[in-house]
């Protein structure tokens, strides 16, 4: 994440806090942003305004995992490392043995994976509990 984007994000967080002050502010970053950068940005904003930070959620795309692991491993690991919650998304499009493979490859880099599917609702309750 470049400096201008980071400072722009901090400014936006502060603007929303001052003008709207919602209960929850969700940030949907570019696919190239890693979790450490998001933690740094939210910490920067805390220097002069008060809000809660987290959970920092990372979605690991189940169907895309083989590509991500072979071609974008550093980015993928940068997103799962430091995350408070890591979920494997689009579970309805992969087989259970694929999830075991993903678990095996990521277990040293993050906490337990939550299998997630918006299609059939699997895992949604687990994620929602983290924002309640």
């Amino acid at each position: 994440m470049g400096c201008s984007l980071a400072s722009g994000l901090v400014d936006l967080i502060k603007k929303i806090k001052r003008n709207v002050d919602p209960d929850l502010l969700f940030i949907e970053p570019s696919e190239m942003v890693v979790t450490r950068e998001l933690k740094d940005v939210t910490a920067m904003g805390l220097r002069d305004i008060r809000y809660g930070a987290g959970p920092f959620i990372t979605l690991v795309d189940g169907p895309q995992f083989p590509f991500l692991w072979s071609e974008r491993r550093a980015l993928l690991l940068g997103q799962v490392k430091d995350a408070d919650l890591v979920a494997v998304s689009r579970m309805d499009l992969i087989e259970s043995h694929d999830l075991e493979t993903i678990n095996g490859l990521l277990q040293d880099h993050c906490g337990p994976l939550i299998p997630l599917s918006a299609q059939n609702g699997d895992g949604m309750g687990e994620v929602m509990k983290r924002i309640d």
Partner: protein, 62 residues
């Protein structure tokens, strides 16, 4: 206000999950806002924004 981030590859379901969380929060009378750092697409349609009183801001760069 609490900041919640959802990272992941394109098409991994970030928008879908955030929409679910916005709806879940709305059902508990909680207000939400979203900052989107993706370019070229409208992720949150007017009907959804109006229905949930959602504040949406877009920011470019990555």
């Amino acid at each position: 206000m609490r900041v919640v981030t959802v990272s992941g590859a394109g098409e991994s379901g970030k928008t879908t999950l955030i929409r679910e969380m916005v709806a879940h929060a709305g059902a508990a009378a909680k207000r939400s806002a979203v900052i989107v750092n993706e370019e070229g697409l409208i992720f949150y349609d007017d009907d959804f924004v109006k229905a949930h009183g959602l504040t949406v801001e877009y920011i470019r760069g990555g």
